[in-house]
Symmetry: C2
Subunit: 372 residues, 2 copies
């Protein structure tokens, strides 16, 4: 992306900071850093002032690499944790910030990271802190055309990954090997990275977060595959459930029901839709079929640089430092179908990423729906 | 592992808790939960009392799965974050804890997770908190025979991954595709999971944490490959640097120097060795060759359920809530070669995992050393 894009984003960040009574924000979450500067990496930070100045701190080995990738006013390289702390102090002095309020990413920072960023040798004692999670989400929630292009490209790569995984599903394969097929295909198709792959099978399709194990697929098993490639720094999120061999009529009915609920929900997506209404739509289709109590987990989440980001459903949002979501705007990207339907000693789940448009939803992950 | 193993570990945890003035610990870090109960997963917790009682809380979908994998006294399933908070309150009541001190994982918990675990509806106001990171590390630092077997198995899988990656190194391949070869081979060889794969090439071998990109390998590039499979819940850590085609004499000299330093360090590993001395050994070989200022990053870290865990070097340890490391005991597992030697517009790094034995180091990741 062009330098102007980052300049515009930083200006918008500065505006929101002033609105929220923050004089400076100190970012360490890679996705937030990437959004405002063009580069996000661990063990690094970006300090943004309400005047729109950007100072970055990175391991001294990384200065040249970051210089080529990121837009900033200043960069310093540090040797270790002590150096990082001192470099933060340097920026406070350099930007002339002796008091005021600093925004920090409470949903990302561990207690020990927080200890470093607010260390007496880093932050002036007179600078207080507050959470800036909601500001960063507000900035990132509506995607511009270039971001949507990247997410759609990630969607194409996700489809290739899903295709490879489903092709590999047969009795005797391990969950881990199925995951491997998806990952290998995604890297071959241009993913520079991916978020953790979920593959669960048989009774394990019942659990909330089915990371792969060495369980071997058996005839009649359901297999749940959830993948999230990263391409050009942006993600897509897709989940499919398939059966090893032929499905029972109960499994097929559960699948058909989930698909009906998903389609009804996607059909309601447009600018102005409320997340709670979409959530209700999916839940109501399942409830009307008598399976309300078999549904578990939030239905929807946002997708962007992170594969799970704002908007989040209201309850979830509160505990993740987010504001309750406003009506969806054009250009917001969401994954629908994050909840599981757990009926038997197995579960089904189908999830797709879509872009909110004026009157409709644009499919990002366009992979066929078929249990068998 | 057998139930008795977890009972013994919980008893030892209870002993350390009493020594450190803690009445209860509340764990959410998967590796810590796995060590004491046999199961570790996200969005779940284990509460351990100083009497050695274990209460687990998991998503309600996961109760049956965890029941089969973990050893505990009580388990509750919750619906969402509010349910999680209430289930914690239930355990405080159930275990009769109205006051005292609760240990929490400060190096793992984000501000928002901390907010949930210490929410007024979860924790009695009269219960204070402190960091239990060092207790968990003290418990986990010496590996028993079964753990060492698992780590050695992970080492064999790591070697297969490295072999596949290096075989794929040629001009035109992307860093991401090389990573894909390693990951695919590790899953095929029995890894249920892996930690993020690092592959960097050309000028990118200079950066501290070289996650793969779509950069295409070019003739004469150095390529740094760092992989960490998880097998039976345990990790191994191996890094190799190789050249696309023929290396320059400067590259070969840097490689030979690093290898000399690594070998000198491994030769000094035995029960009673101090991490700082091993660190000095590696550094001194490099310094004596005039490249002291080209070395970056800590030399050594522990390996176990996590691929980076205690022991950590003293400076690093402080910022990660760990105590400065004691002399190494038999059964501690470490990776040596975590630092990079950044001489030109490229870097080299060679890293191996070893088990500390009475008189020597046992190689876990036994892959040949060869730049070309």
């Amino acid at each position: 992306m062009k330098k102007e894009v980052y300049a515009r984003r930083v200006n918008e960040a500065a505006r929101l900071m002033k609105e929220s009574g923050m004089d400076v924000i100190l970012l360490t979450k890679p996705s937030n850093m990437a959004y405002l500067t063009g580069d996000g990496r661990l063990c690094a930070y970006a300090m943004i002032t309400k005047e729109g100045h950007v100072g970055m701190g990175v391991p001294k080995t990384d200065v040249e690499d970051v210089r080529q990738l990121a837009a900033f006013d200043e960069i310093v390289g540090f040797e270790d944790e002590v150096g990082m702390i001192h470099s933060i102090a340097h920026y406070f002095k350099h930007f002339g910030i002796e008091s005021g309020t600093m925004g920090l990413e409470n949903t990302f920072l561990t207690q020990s990271m927080m200890g470093m960023l607010t260390h007496p040798h880093a932050k002036p004692e007179t600078v207080t802190t507050k959470d800036c999670t909601a500001i960063m989400s507000a900035l990132r929630i509506v995607k511009d055309d270039e971001e949507i292009d990247h997410i759609r490209t990630a969607g194409l790569v996700a489809v290739k990954g899903m295709s490879a995984a489903i092709e590999a599903v047969k009795a005797g394969m391990t969950e881990s090997q199925v995951a491997g097929e998806a990952e290998y295909a995604m890297r071959a198709a241009g993913a520079e990275e991916f978020w953790r792959t979920y593959v669960s099978s048989g009774p394990r399709t019942n659990i909330a977060h089915g990371l792969p194990t060495n369980r071997k697929l058996q005839e009649g098993d359901l297999v749940m595959i959830d993948i999230h490639p990263i391409v050009n720094g942006y993600s897509a999120d897709v989940c499919r459930t398939v059966c090893v061999g032929s499905a029972t009529s109960e499994q097929q009915a559960a699948y058909d029901l989930y698909l009906k609920a998903l389609r009804a929900t996607i059909a309601k997506v447009r600018a102005g839709s409320a997340i709670v209404d979409l959530d209700d739509t999916l839940h109501n289709v399942i409830k009307e079929a008598g399976h309300g109590e078999h549904l578990f987990g939030p239905t929807i989440h946002g997708v962007g640089i992170d594969f799970e980001e704002a908007p989040l459903p209201p309850g979830h949002a509160f505990f993740h430092g987010e504001k309750a979501p406003a009506p969806l705007k054009k250009g917001v990207v969401i994954a629908i179908g994050n909840c599981g339907l757990y009926i038997g000693p197995w579960g089904v789940r189908i999830e797709d990423t879509v872009v909110v448009q004026e009157e409709t939803a644009l499919a990002v992950t366009d992979y066929p729906y078929s249990l068998t």
